[in-house]
Symmetry: C2
Subunit: 114 residues, 2 copies
DNA sequence: CGTAATAGCAACCCAATGGTTGCATCTTTC
DNA sequence: GAAAGATGCAACCATTGGGTTGCTATTACG
């Protein structure tokens, strides 16, 4: 029953950082943009936004630390591309927790109908 | 190309709030606990944590505003129970974005092999 | 070569957040 | 009815976070 082992806590922190990376409207927009198109430079990503280039840069750094995007310098511009793997991890987590919930409901229902 | 309509922005803010709710290790632990067991009181949830009851209370309020848990007063205690629906929404969002990414890759591959 | 474009760095600001402590309120139970 | 249990509320604190401005460095291009 949620014996919080140290490793478990570390994993949880990792997952939390992942979710937190998507916990901002601007970053969410960046991710959708990058997932829907080819790699884009910071200037390009800033063009469609209402905030400063610096703000976008900070957000991209957060996304990069979470592994959701990767940066590659190309000439005078930094191209950011999407990486789907962390989102797969998130989905796996959501699935695990939902499954827990479902089995719990099933057990309770069985108890009632017994 | 990410024509950010006002409604789209509103939806994005909603989603961001959802993800942000899971963007904290303590809240993540609370959600897993509640999804794995029956409704629990604040005192019970605090018992297995290293932070104060007040901190847990605040976290539960955040989770409630995101719709991830619901509270019901029972006598002198407040019982919180898990609600799986918002997590389904998150999964749907992740699926949509991943699908976008996959179709993009497919299109690019087709272009190369053309 | 000079100029414009792209980006990085640093300092700063303000609001939100996670956390605490202290006290009041309402149930339960003896 | 009084004491113990479980919460709620409010104030407060330190840190983080989103955002900006100003300045510098590198790259592309006429």
């Amino acid at each position: 029953m949620s014996r919080s082992t140290p490793e478990g806590a570390a994993r949880r922190r990792q997952h939390a950082e992942l979710f937190a990376a998507l916990g901002d409207a601007t970053r969410l927009a960046l991710v959708t943009t990058l997932a829907a198109g080819e790699p884009r430079s910071i200037a390009q990503l800033t063009a469609h936004s209402r905030v400063t280039r610096q703000a976008i840069t900070k957000h991209l750094r957060v996304l990069e630390r979470a592994g959701l995007v990767h940066c590659q310098r190309a000439g005078r511009e930094s191209r950011y591309r999407f990486d789907p793997q962390p989102m797969d991890e998130m989905r796996a987590w959501l699935d695990r927790v939902s499954a827990q919930w479902d089995t719990l409901l099933a057990r309770l229902k069985a108890l009632v109908e017994e």
